[in-house]
Protein backbone atom coordinates (compact mmCIF):
# COMPACT_ATOMS: atom_id res chain seq x y z
CA UNK A 1 0.00 0.00 0.00
CA UNK A 2 2.82 2.34 0.83
CA UNK A 3 4.84 2.47 -2.33
CA UNK A 4 2.99 1.26 -5.38
CA UNK A 5 1.84 3.56 -8.11
CA UNK A 6 -1.85 4.10 -8.27
CA UNK A 7 -2.25 4.58 -12.00
CA UNK A 8 -0.54 3.12 -14.98
CA UNK A 9 2.04 5.61 -15.88
CA UNK A 10 3.21 6.75 -19.25
CA UNK A 11 5.11 9.87 -18.44
CA UNK A 12 3.96 11.84 -21.43
CA UNK A 13 2.79 15.40 -21.74
CA UNK A 14 -0.92 16.11 -21.37
CA UNK A 15 -2.86 15.45 -24.52
CA UNK A 16 -5.86 17.23 -23.13
CA UNK A 17 -6.88 20.09 -25.40
CA UNK A 18 -9.42 22.50 -23.97
CA UNK A 19 -12.42 23.15 -26.12
CA UNK A 20 -12.58 19.75 -27.78
CA UNK A 21 -15.86 18.78 -26.18
CA UNK A 22 -18.55 18.39 -28.79
CA UNK A 23 -22.30 18.34 -28.28
CA UNK A 24 -22.35 14.99 -30.02
CA UNK A 25 -23.13 12.73 -27.13
CA UNK A 26 -26.15 11.50 -25.26
CA UNK A 27 -24.07 11.73 -22.19
CA UNK A 28 -23.33 15.08 -20.72
CA UNK A 29 -20.53 13.89 -18.51
CA UNK A 30 -18.56 13.24 -21.68
CA UNK A 31 -19.34 16.80 -22.60
CA UNK A 32 -18.01 17.89 -19.24
CA UNK A 33 -14.78 16.03 -19.35
CA UNK A 34 -13.93 15.39 -22.95
CA UNK A 35 -12.40 12.10 -23.95
CA UNK A 36 -9.84 10.37 -21.83
CA UNK A 37 -6.76 12.41 -21.41
CA UNK A 38 -3.92 10.02 -21.15
CA UNK A 39 -1.26 11.08 -18.87
CA UNK A 40 0.05 9.65 -15.74
CA UNK A 41 1.22 10.38 -12.32
CA UNK A 42 4.70 9.48 -11.32
CA UNK A 43 4.94 6.89 -8.60
CA UNK A 44 5.53 8.44 -5.23
CA UNK A 45 7.10 6.78 -2.27
CA UNK A 46 7.08 7.77 1.35
CA UNK A 47 10.26 9.39 2.51
CA UNK A 48 11.16 10.50 -0.99
CA UNK A 49 10.30 14.11 -0.31
CA UNK A 50 13.06 16.04 -1.94
CA UNK A 51 11.88 18.05 -4.90
CA UNK A 52 8.79 20.23 -5.03
CA UNK A 53 7.30 17.77 -7.49
CA UNK A 54 7.70 14.91 -5.06
CA UNK A 55 5.98 16.88 -2.30
CA UNK A 56 2.79 17.11 -4.29
CA UNK A 57 -0.15 14.95 -3.32
CA UNK A 58 -2.76 13.68 -5.76
CA UNK A 59 -6.48 14.19 -5.32
CA UNK A 60 -9.53 12.82 -7.08
CA UNK A 61 -12.26 15.37 -7.75
CA UNK A 62 -15.49 13.49 -8.48
CA UNK A 63 -18.51 15.14 -10.00
CA UNK A 64 -21.92 13.94 -8.83
CA UNK A 65 -24.73 14.68 -11.23
CA UNK A 66 -28.45 14.00 -11.20
CA UNK A 67 -29.77 11.04 -13.16
CA UNK A 68 -31.73 11.74 -16.31
CA UNK A 69 -31.36 13.83 -19.41
CA UNK A 70 -28.69 16.52 -19.66
CA UNK A 71 -29.78 20.13 -19.20
CA UNK A 72 -30.75 22.18 -22.28
CA UNK A 73 -27.97 23.83 -24.31
CA UNK A 74 -28.61 27.30 -22.90
CA UNK A 75 -27.78 25.91 -19.44
CA UNK A 76 -25.03 23.58 -20.56
CA UNK A 77 -23.05 25.92 -22.78
CA UNK A 78 -21.97 28.43 -20.14
CA UNK A 79 -21.05 25.50 -17.89
CA UNK A 80 -18.93 24.04 -20.68
CA UNK A 81 -17.12 27.33 -21.16
CA UNK A 82 -16.41 27.64 -17.43
CA UNK A 83 -15.11 24.10 -17.30
CA UNK A 84 -12.89 24.54 -20.33
CA UNK A 85 -11.44 27.65 -18.67
CA UNK A 86 -10.91 25.78 -15.40
CA UNK A 87 -9.16 22.93 -17.18
CA UNK A 88 -6.88 25.40 -18.95
CA UNK A 89 -6.14 26.95 -15.59
CA UNK A 90 -5.30 23.54 -14.12
CA UNK A 91 -2.96 22.76 -17.01
CA UNK A 92 -1.31 26.18 -16.78
CA UNK A 93 -0.75 25.72 -13.03
CA UNK A 94 0.74 22.28 -13.67
CA UNK A 95 -1.95 20.84 -11.39
CA UNK A 96 -3.73 18.84 -14.08
CA UNK A 97 -3.15 15.07 -14.15
CA UNK A 98 -6.11 13.34 -15.74
CA UNK A 99 -9.73 13.96 -16.55
CA UNK A 100 -12.53 11.78 -17.85
CA UNK A 101 -16.27 11.65 -18.18
CA UNK A 102 -18.23 8.45 -17.71
CA UNK A 103 -21.05 6.96 -19.78
CA UNK A 104 -24.41 6.86 -17.96
CA UNK A 105 -24.91 4.41 -15.07
CA UNK A 106 -27.30 2.39 -17.26
CA UNK A 107 -24.23 1.22 -19.18
CA UNK A 108 -22.53 -0.20 -16.06
CA UNK A 109 -22.12 -3.89 -15.19
CA UNK A 110 -21.33 -5.14 -11.68
CA UNK A 111 -19.36 -8.36 -11.14
CA UNK A 112 -19.32 -10.32 -7.88
CA UNK A 113 -17.15 -13.36 -7.28
CA UNK A 114 -19.02 -16.03 -5.36
CA UNK A 115 -17.36 -19.37 -4.76
CA UNK A 116 -16.12 -20.43 -8.17
CA UNK A 117 -18.64 -18.32 -10.03
CA UNK A 118 -18.78 -14.70 -11.01
CA UNK A 119 -22.22 -13.16 -10.87
CA UNK A 120 -23.04 -10.35 -13.22
CA UNK A 121 -25.69 -7.69 -12.75
CA UNK A 122 -26.82 -5.08 -15.21
CA UNK A 123 -26.64 -1.51 -13.94
CA UNK A 124 -24.59 0.46 -11.41
CA UNK A 125 -23.39 -0.77 -7.99
CA UNK A 126 -25.50 1.86 -6.26
CA UNK A 127 -28.84 3.05 -7.57
CA UNK A 128 -29.62 6.59 -6.53
CA UNK A 129 -30.81 9.98 -7.67
CA UNK A 130 -27.24 11.02 -8.44
CA UNK A 131 -24.32 9.20 -9.98
CA UNK A 132 -20.60 9.67 -10.54
CA UNK A 133 -20.52 11.53 -13.81
CA UNK A 134 -16.82 12.06 -14.24
CA UNK A 135 -13.67 12.98 -12.45
CA UNK A 136 -10.50 14.97 -12.60
CA UNK A 137 -7.23 14.00 -10.96
CA UNK A 138 -5.08 16.90 -9.80
CA UNK A 139 -1.77 17.46 -8.06
CA UNK A 140 -1.71 19.86 -5.13
CA UNK A 141 0.67 20.57 -2.26
CA UNK A 142 -2.01 20.06 0.41
CA UNK A 143 -5.74 19.78 1.02
CA UNK A 144 -6.26 23.55 1.13
CA UNK A 145 -4.92 23.89 -2.40
CA UNK A 146 -6.96 20.90 -3.57
CA UNK A 147 -10.12 22.35 -1.99
CA UNK A 148 -9.56 25.62 -3.85
CA UNK A 149 -9.59 23.70 -7.13
CA UNK A 150 -12.63 21.75 -5.89
CA UNK A 151 -14.47 24.98 -5.12
CA UNK A 152 -13.76 26.28 -8.61
CA UNK A 153 -15.00 23.02 -10.06
CA UNK A 154 -18.21 23.17 -7.99
CA UNK A 155 -18.85 26.72 -9.21
CA UNK A 156 -18.11 25.80 -12.82
CA UNK A 157 -20.25 22.64 -12.90
CA UNK A 158 -22.90 23.85 -10.41
CA UNK A 159 -22.71 20.26 -9.10
CA UNK A 160 -21.35 18.75 -5.85
CA UNK A 161 -17.66 17.85 -6.03
CA UNK A 162 -16.07 15.24 -3.78
CA UNK A 163 -12.37 15.79 -3.14
CA UNK A 164 -10.51 12.70 -1.98
CA UNK A 165 -6.79 12.03 -1.59
CA UNK A 166 -5.02 9.16 -3.28
CA UNK A 167 -3.08 6.71 -1.15
CA UNK A 168 0.61 7.38 -1.08
Amino acid sequence: MGTQAFLAIPSTMPTYIPGTFGPDSQNWSTLFFGKLSNLGVRARTRGDNHSKEENMKSYLMSVYQPDGAPPPPEVLEPIMRELAALNEELVAADAFVFSAGLCPPSTATVLRAKDAEVLMTDGPFLEGKEHLGGFTVIKAPDLDAALEWGAKMAKATTLPIEVRPFQE
Partner: protein
Protein backbone atom coordinates in the same frame (compact mmCIF):
# COMPACT_ATOMS: atom_id res chain seq x y z
CA UNK B 1 0.90 9.83 43.85
CA UNK B 2 1.98 13.12 45.44
CA UNK B 3 5.13 12.90 43.33
CA UNK B 4 2.99 13.36 40.21
CA UNK B 5 1.57 16.68 41.32
CA UNK B 6 4.12 19.03 39.69
CA UNK B 7 3.89 17.02 36.46
CA UNK B 8 0.09 17.18 36.51
CA UNK B 9 0.10 20.97 36.72
CA UNK B 10 2.58 21.30 33.85
CA UNK B 11 0.66 18.71 31.84
CA UNK B 12 -2.59 20.64 31.80
CA UNK B 13 -0.98 24.03 31.27
CA UNK B 14 1.59 23.03 28.67
CA UNK B 15 0.21 20.00 26.85
CA UNK B 16 -1.12 21.96 23.86
CA UNK B 17 2.08 23.95 23.53
CA UNK B 18 4.43 20.96 23.57
CA UNK B 19 2.26 18.89 21.21
CA UNK B 20 2.17 21.87 18.84
CA UNK B 21 5.96 22.22 18.82
CA UNK B 22 6.55 18.49 18.41
CA UNK B 23 3.98 18.30 15.61
CA UNK B 24 6.01 20.85 13.68
CA UNK B 25 9.32 19.12 14.37
CA UNK B 26 8.05 15.63 13.60
CA UNK B 27 5.46 16.49 10.97
CA UNK B 28 2.96 14.04 12.45
CA UNK B 29 0.41 14.47 15.25
CA UNK B 30 0.49 10.83 16.42
CA UNK B 31 4.29 10.78 16.66
CA UNK B 32 4.13 14.08 18.54
CA UNK B 33 1.56 12.81 21.03
CA UNK B 34 3.49 9.60 21.67
CA UNK B 35 6.70 11.54 22.20
CA UNK B 36 5.04 13.98 24.59
CA UNK B 37 3.48 11.09 26.50
CA UNK B 38 6.94 9.48 26.83
CA UNK B 39 8.40 12.75 28.08
CA UNK B 40 5.70 13.24 30.72
CA UNK B 41 6.20 9.65 31.89
CA UNK B 42 9.91 10.36 32.26
CA UNK B 43 9.13 13.60 34.08
CA UNK B 44 6.86 11.78 36.51
CA UNK B 45 9.84 9.57 37.45
CA UNK B 46 12.56 12.23 37.52
CA UNK B 47 11.03 15.45 38.81
CA UNK B 48 10.06 14.16 42.26
CA UNK B 49 13.74 13.09 42.67
CA UNK B 50 15.67 15.76 40.74
CA UNK B 51 13.27 18.66 41.28
CA UNK B 52 11.19 20.50 38.66
CA UNK B 53 13.45 22.03 35.97
CA UNK B 54 13.50 25.84 35.60
CA UNK B 55 11.63 25.65 32.28
CA UNK B 56 9.32 22.63 32.58
CA UNK B 57 7.83 23.06 29.10
CA UNK B 58 11.30 23.40 27.55
CA UNK B 59 12.41 20.25 29.38
CA UNK B 60 9.37 18.35 28.11
CA UNK B 61 9.92 19.55 24.53
CA UNK B 62 13.60 18.62 24.53
CA UNK B 63 12.96 15.25 26.15
CA UNK B 64 10.05 14.49 23.81
CA UNK B 65 12.10 15.41 20.77
CA UNK B 66 15.00 13.21 21.86
CA UNK B 67 12.64 10.32 22.58
CA UNK B 68 11.01 10.71 19.18
CA UNK B 69 14.37 10.74 17.43
CA UNK B 70 15.44 7.61 19.35
CA UNK B 71 12.23 5.91 18.39
CA UNK B 72 12.56 6.91 14.74
CA UNK B 73 16.18 5.69 14.71
CA UNK B 74 15.07 2.35 16.12
CA UNK B 75 12.29 2.08 13.56
CA UNK B 76 14.59 3.11 10.75
CA UNK B 77 17.11 0.49 11.83
CA UNK B 78 14.35 -2.08 12.02
CA UNK B 79 13.12 -1.16 8.58
CA UNK B 80 16.66 -1.24 7.29
CA UNK B 81 16.94 -4.82 8.52
CA UNK B 82 13.62 -5.87 7.08
CA UNK B 83 13.62 -3.95 3.81
CA UNK B 84 17.11 -3.01 2.75
CA UNK B 85 15.90 -0.67 0.03
CA UNK B 86 13.16 1.03 2.03
CA UNK B 87 13.18 4.77 1.98
CA UNK B 88 14.65 5.99 5.25
CA UNK B 89 12.44 7.84 7.69
CA UNK B 90 15.31 10.19 8.19
CA UNK B 91 13.68 13.56 7.51
CA UNK B 92 12.90 14.42 11.15
CA UNK B 93 16.48 13.64 12.17
CA UNK B 94 17.65 16.47 9.97
CA UNK B 95 15.09 18.77 11.57
CA UNK B 96 16.13 22.02 13.21
CA UNK B 97 17.45 21.83 16.74
CA UNK B 98 14.62 23.59 18.53
CA UNK B 99 14.73 25.04 21.96
CA UNK B 100 11.49 26.26 23.49
CA UNK B 101 11.68 29.79 22.11
CA UNK B 102 8.48 31.77 22.34
CA UNK B 103 8.26 33.07 18.75
CA UNK B 104 7.89 29.79 16.88
CA UNK B 105 5.96 28.25 19.78
CA UNK B 106 3.32 30.95 19.47
CA UNK B 107 2.92 30.09 15.80
CA UNK B 108 2.91 26.36 16.50
CA UNK B 109 -0.09 26.66 18.80
CA UNK B 110 -1.95 28.76 16.24
CA UNK B 111 -1.13 26.18 13.57
CA UNK B 112 -2.48 23.44 15.78
CA UNK B 113 -5.70 25.38 16.51
CA UNK B 114 -6.33 25.94 12.81
CA UNK B 115 -5.53 22.31 12.03
CA UNK B 116 -7.93 21.01 14.71
CA UNK B 117 -10.69 23.34 13.47
CA UNK B 118 -10.08 22.88 9.75
CA UNK B 119 -13.36 23.33 7.84
CA UNK B 120 -12.87 19.98 6.09
CA UNK B 121 -13.39 18.29 9.48
CA UNK B 122 -16.88 17.89 10.92
CA UNK B 123 -17.68 20.00 13.96
CA UNK B 124 -17.85 17.04 16.36
CA UNK B 125 -14.37 16.04 15.18
CA UNK B 126 -13.11 19.63 15.56
CA UNK B 127 -14.40 19.76 19.14
CA UNK B 128 -12.87 16.42 20.13
CA UNK B 129 -9.50 17.22 18.53
CA UNK B 130 -9.34 20.67 20.09
CA UNK B 131 -10.04 19.34 23.58
CA UNK B 132 -7.62 16.43 23.10
CA UNK B 133 -4.65 18.16 21.46
CA UNK B 134 -4.89 21.70 22.81
CA UNK B 135 -6.67 21.05 26.07
CA UNK B 136 -4.81 17.86 26.91
CA UNK B 137 -8.07 16.17 27.95
CA UNK B 138 -8.13 12.38 27.70
CA UNK B 139 -10.70 10.71 25.46
CA UNK B 140 -12.38 9.53 28.68
CA UNK B 141 -12.68 13.09 29.99
CA UNK B 142 -14.08 14.35 26.68
CA UNK B 143 -16.54 11.45 26.55
CA UNK B 144 -17.77 12.15 30.09
CA UNK B 145 -18.10 15.87 29.36
CA UNK B 146 -20.30 15.21 26.31
CA UNK B 147 -22.01 12.14 27.76
CA UNK B 148 -21.09 9.93 24.82
CA UNK B 149 -19.32 6.56 24.96
CA UNK B 150 -15.53 6.81 25.17
CA UNK B 151 -15.21 4.56 22.11
CA UNK B 152 -17.16 7.15 20.09
CA UNK B 153 -14.75 9.94 21.01
CA UNK B 154 -11.70 7.74 20.46
CA UNK B 155 -13.01 6.76 17.03
CA UNK B 156 -13.75 10.38 16.13
CA UNK B 157 -10.22 11.43 17.05
CA UNK B 158 -8.57 8.54 15.19
CA UNK B 159 -10.65 9.27 12.10
CA UNK B 160 -9.90 13.00 12.21
CA UNK B 161 -6.15 12.44 12.64
CA UNK B 162 -6.27 9.97 9.76
CA UNK B 163 -7.92 12.56 7.55
CA UNK B 164 -5.39 15.23 8.56
CA UNK B 165 -2.57 12.88 7.60
CA UNK B 166 -3.98 11.25 4.46
CA UNK B 167 -5.83 14.17 2.93
CA UNK B 168 -2.92 16.51 3.66
CA UNK B 169 -4.64 19.06 5.90
CA UNK B 170 -1.77 21.52 6.27
CA UNK B 171 -0.19 22.45 9.62
CA UNK B 172 -0.22 26.12 8.80
CA UNK B 173 -1.58 29.48 9.87
CA UNK B 174 -4.07 30.59 7.20
CA UNK B 175 -3.22 33.46 4.88
CA UNK B 176 -4.40 36.88 6.01
CA UNK B 177 -7.10 36.87 3.31
CA UNK B 178 -8.48 33.53 4.51
CA UNK B 179 -8.31 34.36 8.21
CA UNK B 180 -11.89 35.58 8.72
CA UNK B 181 -13.32 32.43 7.12
CA UNK B 182 -10.92 30.13 8.91
CA UNK B 183 -11.48 31.81 12.27
CA UNK B 184 -15.19 31.18 12.04
CA UNK B 185 -15.07 27.44 12.83
CA UNK B 186 -12.42 28.02 15.53
CA UNK B 187 -14.67 30.48 17.36
CA UNK B 188 -17.70 28.25 16.81
CA UNK B 189 -15.86 25.30 18.42
CA UNK B 190 -14.80 27.32 21.47
CA UNK B 191 -18.31 28.75 21.84
CA UNK B 192 -19.83 25.26 21.51
CA UNK B 193 -17.49 23.83 24.16
CA UNK B 194 -18.42 26.69 26.49
CA UNK B 195 -22.15 26.35 25.81
CA UNK B 196 -22.10 22.61 26.34
CA UNK B 197 -20.51 23.30 29.71
CA UNK B 198 -22.83 26.20 30.54
CA UNK B 199 -26.13 24.51 29.82
CA UNK B 200 -25.30 20.87 29.49
CA UNK B 201 -27.53 19.56 26.71
CA UNK B 202 -28.45 16.59 28.86
CA UNK B 203 -27.84 15.05 32.24
CA UNK B 204 -28.39 15.93 35.87
CA UNK B 205 -26.03 18.94 36.15
CA UNK B 206 -27.02 22.32 34.74
CA UNK B 207 -23.39 23.36 34.36
CA UNK B 208 -20.24 21.37 33.70
CA UNK B 209 -17.71 23.87 34.95
CA UNK B 210 -14.64 22.08 33.63
CA UNK B 211 -15.81 22.55 30.02
CA UNK B 212 -16.52 26.25 30.60
CA UNK B 213 -13.10 26.69 32.18
CA UNK B 214 -11.38 24.92 29.30
CA UNK B 215 -13.24 26.98 26.68
CA UNK B 216 -12.32 30.18 28.51
CA UNK B 217 -8.67 29.11 28.82
CA UNK B 218 -8.44 28.27 25.10
CA UNK B 219 -10.20 31.50 24.10
CA UNK B 220 -7.76 33.48 26.26
CA UNK B 221 -4.94 31.67 24.49
CA UNK B 222 -6.41 32.46 21.06
CA UNK B 223 -6.85 36.12 22.03
CA UNK B 224 -3.22 36.25 23.17
CA UNK B 225 -2.11 34.71 19.87
CA UNK B 226 -4.34 36.91 17.68
CA UNK B 227 -4.65 40.14 19.68
CA UNK B 228 -5.91 42.14 16.69
CA UNK B 229 -8.91 40.03 15.72
CA UNK B 230 -12.01 41.82 17.01
CA UNK B 231 -14.25 38.75 16.96
CA UNK B 232 -11.75 36.72 19.01
CA UNK B 233 -11.81 39.48 21.61
CA UNK B 234 -15.60 39.60 21.31
CA UNK B 235 -15.87 35.89 22.10
CA UNK B 236 -13.45 36.25 25.02
CA UNK B 237 -15.50 39.13 26.48
CA UNK B 238 -18.72 37.17 25.98
CA UNK B 239 -17.35 34.12 27.82
CA UNK B 240 -15.93 36.27 30.63
CA UNK B 241 -19.21 38.12 31.18
CA UNK B 242 -21.28 34.94 31.16
CA UNK B 243 -18.78 33.13 33.41
CA UNK B 244 -18.98 36.02 35.88
CA UNK B 245 -22.61 35.10 36.60
CA UNK B 246 -21.84 31.47 37.24
CA UNK B 247 -22.01 31.67 41.08
CA UNK B 248 -25.51 33.23 40.92
CA UNK B 249 -26.88 30.93 38.24
CA UNK B 250 -27.63 27.90 40.37
CA UNK B 251 -28.78 27.51 43.96
CA UNK B 252 -26.67 25.50 46.40
CA UNK B 253 -28.64 22.39 45.45
CA UNK B 254 -28.06 22.92 41.72
CA UNK B 255 -31.45 24.41 40.75
CA UNK B 256 -31.57 26.92 37.89
CA UNK B 257 -31.90 30.67 38.68
CA UNK B 258 -32.99 33.02 35.88
CA UNK B 259 -31.00 36.16 35.13
CA UNK B 260 -33.82 38.36 36.47
CA UNK B 261 -33.83 36.54 39.81
CA UNK B 262 -30.08 36.21 40.30
CA UNK B 263 -28.37 37.70 43.32
CA UNK B 264 -26.15 40.13 41.48
CA UNK B 265 -23.81 40.58 44.44
CA UNK B 266 -22.62 37.02 43.70
CA UNK B 267 -21.37 37.95 40.23
CA UNK B 268 -17.60 37.73 39.98
CA UNK B 269 -16.35 41.27 39.71
CA UNK B 270 -12.92 40.40 38.30
CA UNK B 271 -14.31 38.56 35.29
CA UNK B 272 -17.01 41.20 34.78
CA UNK B 273 -14.58 44.12 34.79
CA UNK B 274 -12.24 42.31 32.43
CA UNK B 275 -15.10 41.51 30.03
CA UNK B 276 -16.49 45.04 30.14
CA UNK B 277 -13.06 46.52 29.39
CA UNK B 278 -12.71 44.30 26.32
CA UNK B 279 -16.20 45.31 25.12
CA UNK B 280 -15.29 49.00 25.48
CA UNK B 281 -12.12 48.43 23.45
CA UNK B 282 -14.18 46.64 20.77
CA UNK B 283 -16.65 49.54 20.61
CA UNK B 284 -13.76 51.98 20.14
CA UNK B 285 -12.34 49.80 17.37
CA UNK B 286 -15.76 49.83 15.66
CA UNK B 287 -15.48 46.66 13.57
CA UNK B 288 -18.58 44.96 14.96
CA UNK B 289 -19.31 41.27 14.57
CA UNK B 290 -21.81 38.83 16.10
CA UNK B 291 -19.62 37.82 19.07
CA UNK B 292 -18.76 41.40 19.92
CA UNK B 293 -22.42 42.42 19.83
CA UNK B 294 -23.43 39.49 22.03
CA UNK B 295 -20.66 40.50 24.43
CA UNK B 296 -21.93 44.08 24.41
CA UNK B 297 -25.44 42.85 25.28
CA UNK B 298 -24.02 40.94 28.24
CA UNK B 299 -21.97 44.00 29.22
CA UNK B 300 -25.14 46.10 29.42
CA UNK B 301 -26.74 43.44 31.64
CA UNK B 302 -23.64 43.30 33.81
CA UNK B 303 -23.65 47.07 34.30
CA UNK B 304 -27.15 47.05 35.84
CA UNK B 305 -27.14 46.79 39.64
CA UNK B 306 -30.77 45.52 39.55
CA UNK B 307 -33.05 44.07 36.84
CA UNK B 308 -35.15 47.24 36.98
CA UNK B 309 -32.09 49.38 36.27
CA UNK B 310 -31.30 47.47 33.03
CA UNK B 311 -30.87 49.75 30.01
CA UNK B 312 -33.35 47.81 27.83
CA UNK B 313 -33.36 50.31 24.93
CA UNK B 314 -29.56 49.92 24.61
CA UNK B 315 -29.95 46.13 24.56
CA UNK B 316 -32.71 46.38 21.93
CA UNK B 317 -30.45 48.51 19.71
CA UNK B 318 -27.73 45.86 20.03
CA UNK B 319 -30.20 43.11 19.11
CA UNK B 320 -31.21 45.14 16.05
CA UNK B 321 -27.55 45.27 15.05
CA UNK B 322 -27.20 41.55 15.68
CA UNK B 323 -30.31 40.85 13.56
CA UNK B 324 -28.73 42.85 10.74
CA UNK B 325 -25.59 40.67 10.87
CA UNK B 326 -27.12 37.31 11.86
CA UNK B 327 -30.86 37.29 11.13
CA UNK B 328 -31.73 33.95 12.73
CA UNK B 329 -35.00 32.98 14.47
CA UNK B 330 -33.08 32.37 17.71
CA UNK B 331 -31.75 35.95 17.70
CA UNK B 332 -35.29 37.18 16.96
CA UNK B 333 -36.56 35.15 19.92
CA UNK B 334 -34.03 36.73 22.27
CA UNK B 335 -34.85 40.15 20.86
CA UNK B 336 -38.52 39.56 21.64
CA UNK B 337 -37.65 39.08 25.33
CA UNK B 338 -36.25 42.60 25.30
CA UNK B 339 -39.32 43.90 23.45
CA UNK B 340 -41.41 42.54 26.34
CA UNK B 341 -39.46 44.72 28.78
CA UNK B 342 -39.95 47.85 26.67
CA UNK B 343 -43.32 47.47 24.90
CA UNK B 344 -44.97 44.87 27.11
CA UNK B 345 -45.61 41.12 26.89
CA UNK B 346 -48.45 41.30 24.32
CA UNK B 347 -46.23 42.96 21.69
CA UNK B 348 -43.46 40.46 22.39
CA UNK B 349 -45.86 37.51 22.24
CA UNK B 350 -47.02 38.53 18.77
CA UNK B 351 -43.38 38.54 17.57
CA UNK B 352 -42.59 35.22 19.25
CA UNK B 353 -45.60 33.50 17.72
CA UNK B 354 -44.46 34.49 14.25
CA UNK B 355 -41.25 32.44 14.68
CA UNK B 356 -40.78 28.94 13.34
CA UNK B 357 -38.98 27.39 16.33
CA UNK B 358 -41.34 24.64 17.41
CA UNK B 359 -38.52 22.20 18.19
CA UNK B 360 -36.58 24.61 20.41
CA UNK B 361 -37.34 24.37 24.14
CA UNK B 362 -36.55 28.03 24.85
CA UNK B 363 -39.17 29.10 22.29
CA UNK B 364 -41.84 27.33 24.36
CA UNK B 365 -40.35 28.51 27.68
CA UNK B 366 -40.32 32.16 26.57
CA UNK B 367 -43.77 31.86 25.02
CA UNK B 368 -45.02 30.34 28.28
CA UNK B 369 -43.59 33.19 30.31
CA UNK B 370 -45.21 35.79 28.02
CA UNK B 371 -48.56 33.93 28.10
CA UNK B 372 -48.44 33.99 31.89
CA UNK B 373 -47.80 37.73 31.86
CA UNK B 374 -50.80 38.42 29.59
CA UNK B 375 -53.01 36.22 31.81
CA UNK B 376 -53.46 33.22 29.51
CA UNK B 377 -52.65 30.71 32.25
CA UNK B 378 -53.94 27.51 30.64
CA UNK B 379 -51.97 28.07 27.45
CA UNK B 380 -48.91 28.97 29.52
CA UNK B 381 -49.11 25.66 31.39
CA UNK B 382 -49.26 23.77 28.10
CA UNK B 383 -46.29 25.71 26.73
CA UNK B 384 -44.20 25.03 29.86
CA UNK B 385 -45.01 21.35 29.55
CA UNK B 386 -43.93 21.37 25.89
CA UNK B 387 -40.66 23.13 26.82
CA UNK B 388 -39.97 20.58 29.57
CA UNK B 389 -40.33 17.69 27.14
CA UNK B 390 -37.82 19.31 24.77
CA UNK B 391 -34.88 19.76 27.15
CA UNK B 392 -32.74 16.84 28.27
CA UNK B 393 -31.13 18.87 31.06
CA UNK B 394 -32.60 17.80 34.40
CA UNK B 395 -32.12 21.14 36.21
CA UNK B 396 -33.82 23.08 33.43
CA UNK B 397 -36.61 20.54 33.17
CA UNK B 398 -37.24 20.82 36.92
CA UNK B 399 -37.39 24.60 36.62
CA UNK B 400 -39.82 24.45 33.69
CA UNK B 401 -42.02 21.87 35.40
CA UNK B 402 -42.24 24.01 38.50
CA UNK B 403 -42.93 27.20 36.50
CA UNK B 404 -45.80 25.47 34.71
CA UNK B 405 -47.51 24.25 37.86
Amino acid sequence: MTGLAPVDGVFRAEYGRVVAVLTRILGDIDLAEDAVQDAFTTAAQRWPVDGVPPSPAGWIITTARNRAIDRLRRETRLRALLVPLAAPLAAPLAGPEEAAEEGPVRDDRLRLIFTCCHPALGQSAQVALTLRLLGGLTTGEIARAFLVPEATIAQRIVRAKGKIRDAGIPYRIPREADLPNRLHPVLAVLYLIFNEGYTASSGPMLVRDELCAEALRLTRLLAALLPNEPEVLGLLALLLLISARRPARTTVDGAFVRLAEQNRSLWERGLMVEGQAIVRACVRRNQPGPYQIQAAIQAVHSAAPTVAATDWPAILRLYDQLMALAPTPVVALNRAVVVAEISGPAAALAQVEALDLDGYYLFHAIRADLLTRVGRAAEATAAYAKAATLTANDAERAYLAQAGS
